[in-house]
Symmetry: C2
């Protein structure tokens, strides 16, 4: 076996059996190795941002890493924006980046670049394989790094000669990750805070937004009178009717300040102190009042579920306390003009049980949480790092992980343009994704931001940079180009009709919702 | 005036008057500044790889830098692959990357990343603006850096607060670049080599492949019996009927070794010693024989035209010596089956005088030089750094720089998928580009490379990673989605018909040539 075989075997031995790929010449030995192993599912993306965004969506739902296969520095660079998002979601991911043979780097051939420098800003762990013998230990270490803490980005650089050289047959195994329990003093501090009568918010993120942990958090809030909130961006939230009702920190600085204006204590559970997404002249960066006490119960690196359970015991929030759950309220369909609110309202009513709702609707979907509290129970995946172009790949990966569940993507048109190549992957893999394009034909968020700058009415240059019209992009044609069936809707009734039929069938479908 | 106004004024004062842009919130003050200056042409790309690739094509033809406007680390990352190509072409480019306000970085808001680490591998010069007062000096330094030597990548990080803070009214000017003349000992060595009777290749790149410099090089070759060659990849070559006939180093290692097998001396003029694009087991990295003397006349940083003129004088290659030029031989149109050779043959016959031919045809176009020696005189722009996804943006930028010339793009389908968003920019700006998609529905180059690995017939996993079928992507639908007229051709006759009519009209047109 050569180094490439050793890498493939190490991935499989450690339960990494999906590889989102866009290979090049320097990865050909690895392609040949993958070709010998039908138990590895290889999924081609026609651009690397598709590959990494899909790996993110996959891992958020599968709770284990996928591998990505990328071609040297530029291939990695193309995938970085969605690696950035994945890192902000604490997604486990193992990136395999092919490079020139080690002895070839001295020649500075055209595709040569400093891969480590590119990888580090978006990776938690980076390693360049030193030899064929280093392949299996390095791959096991990468998998372990990707699984450590809440999950992280491991980037493994594979020189071509390490791939093609004879390697030892020993395959390394990553050890199972261990999450540290909550620290006693943090537990005591949070418990005391919940008993002192001050106005308290418990801010959750990561695994605290799922299943039993979220129930426990809600019981704590109900028992102590604290308010439960989710971070503005989270990798995955389990929500909908019958599940814990939890709102998230608003994106708007003014709304977020209002949300926290009377908050005296903030208990962090896998979350960070909320800060403004962007700085604005004269507005604060931290969104809680200066006098608010910040009490970290546990960061994302610890066992969040255990920490919440311990806190529940400390405050007496046992199973006799019922969590605050959402009711099945989303039953009224919209009518008349089609706009973002109507689309989201319709999704709230029609999305089936156990759907996966992905959200890159940006400005259009800011208020979507309200309309979907009462939707059928679902997982909610959103853009986490602000790097647009995640939506279509994210939905693609989630559908690979969960072939029996319907994936619904709320996709802004401007952001969707970034990685529209993922539609082709959905067609090829026949993934069960309904993509809903919020076609407002502009970077609406930026029009709003420009207003806030006080620039007045936008002139020609500003409009040329913020509007997506002249020509408008035709998403129905684009979907058909990719082998995905599609339709356009321009009022609520036609949107509902199309959405109903898209949800009733299997396989990818795109709706261009003109708003 | 604020820092953003100061930046805009500094660009304009230094003749940088085209800005390829994909802005975000942190760049809104700069957008507002650009909006006040109609003399700045702002061109939106719906993905950053479009923005940077277009800036490359523009600068190769305009011989001056464009600005790019990119949104934080992920926006820069999306543009890096084509910045990599531009750097390998020695293209002048000024990248303006917005970042958070300096005081906001401490909060590690979701879009925060280490922009410098991302920028450095693909930049010749990187600077983070320190204050509003630093904006104009820094921008002038960036422009100067982009123009120094043969041209380079300057990346300027603009914190939002430096943009929105009041700035001094003084606008800095970059000094004109100066190219050093050839060094005496290098000139003597090259002159001596050309007189010693040994088999000599003069290898050219950069400005040596244009106009007077190229004529001079050819006269030297004719006079001394040396062979003239161009580097494998070059930013721009002036060629075609009536111009100097010069072949380039083949991509294939075996063919390149054959080309140089009897070469005893290699004189470098703005070029590098030729090396293999990739390493292969058992094959050499350097493509000239070990015994071949390498004689650098001048690197790309020096005045290449002056160096060639001095060498011509040294060897007596004056204007009585005629350069070896191509004849107008491309007159025979193909017929029958459509394949890459037929497409290129037709382009050779039909491309109009003074066209700009861009090439990202990858494996399909490897032999295209032969068929176009005798085409009408044209500029030839190619992918230089091996980072695929340059073609459609490159053609877009070239058309912006030269609105009165026809741009013809030879585009491989797999590579074209990377940055197909550039078609929309062509439609919006009504650019005169004919895009010819070589639709072989596979990463054909990789099939070939896989064969060379000795992996035998590709199995399911390999085919799933190397084939672009099931479904085939429909480029005609895609072009129409973007507002670009398009047609499909499946035999030589229909291809010729469509190409003729596309060349006869103004504005963007796409031909899907199924091969």
């Amino acid at each position: 076996m050569n180094g490439a075989d050793s890498l493939c075997d190490t991935l499989l031995a450690n339960d990494v059996d999906v590889c989102f790929a866009n290979p090049g010449t320097s990865e050909m030995h690895f392609v040949a190795a993958l070709d010998k192993k039908p138990q590895m599912r290889c999924i081609l993306g026609l651009f690397e941002g598709v590959v990494t965004g899909a790996a993110d969506g996959y891992a958020r739902m599968a709770d284990k890493p996928a591998a990505t296969l990328l071609h040297l520095g530029p291939g990695l660079a193309n995938g970085l924006a969605n690696i950035h998002n994945a890192r902000r979601a604490n997604t486990p991911m193992v990136n395999i980046v092919g490079d020139h043979a080690a002895y070839h780097l001295q020649y500075d051939a055209p595709l040569t670049s400093d891969i480590e420098s590119l990888a580090r800003p978006m990776s938690d762990w980076v390693h360049r394989i030193q030899s064929a013998a280093d392949v299996s230990p390095a791959a096991a270490a990468a998998i372990q790094a990707s699984r450590s803490g809440p999950g992280g980005i491991a980037t493994l650089i594979l020189p071509a000669d390490a791939a093609w050289t004879e390697a030892p047959a020993t395959i390394q195994r990553a050890t199972d990750p261990e999450l540290a329990p909550v620290q006693d003093d943090a537990l005591r501090a949070a418990g005391a805070a919940l008993r002192n009568g001050r106005k308290t918010v418990i801010l959750l993120s990561g695994k605290a937004l799922r299943g039993e942990a979220l129930d426990t958090a809600s019981r704590i809030a109900v028992k102590t009178g604290a308010r439960l909130m989710a971070q503005q961006s989270n990798g995955r939230v389990e929500r909908g009717a019958g599940r814990v009702m939890i709102d998230r920190v608003p994106f708007s600085v003014d709304l977020a300040l209002k949300t926290f204006e009377d908050t005296e204590q903030l208990i962090l559970v896998g979350a960070k102190t909320p800060v403004a997404f962007f700085a604005y002249p004269g507005k604060p960066g931290v969104l809680v009042p200066a006098a608010c006490d910040i009490i970290p119960l546990t960061g994302p690196d610890n066992d969040v579920a255990q920490a919440l359970q311990a806190l529940a015991e400390a405050v007496g929030a046992d199973h006799t306390v019922a969590p605050l759950t959402s009711q099945r309220t989303a039953t009224q369909l919209p009518s008349g003009a089609l706009n973002a609110a109507a689309i989201i309202q319709a999704i709230g009513v029609l999305s089936p049980e156990n759907a996966i709702i992905c959200d890159e609707s940006v400005s259009s979907g800011r208020d979507s949480f309200k309309s979907t509290f009462g939707a059928a129970p679902h997982d909610f995946l959103q853009i986490t790092g602000g790097a647009i172009g995640i939506g279509i790949p994210l939905a693609t990966g989630a559908a690979v992980a969960c072939p029996d569940r319907k994936v619904i993507l709320m996709q802004a048109d401007g952001s969707g343009m970034y990685t529209l190549q993922a539609l082709w992957t959905q067609a090829r893999e026949q993934l069960d994704v309904v993509t809903i394009i919020f076609a407002n034909r502009s970077y609406a968020i930026l029009h709003n931001e420009l207003k806030m700058v006080g620039a007045g009415e936008p002139g020609r240059n500003a409009r040329r940079m913020l509007d997506l019209d002249n020509p408008t992009f035709d998403w129905v044609h684009m979907a058909k180009a990719s082998g995905v069936e599609a339709a356009r809707a321009t009022d609520a009734e036609s949107f509902i009709d199309v959405l109903r039929s898209a949800l009733a069938r299997k396989g990818p479908f795109l709706i261009e919702a003109v708003i």
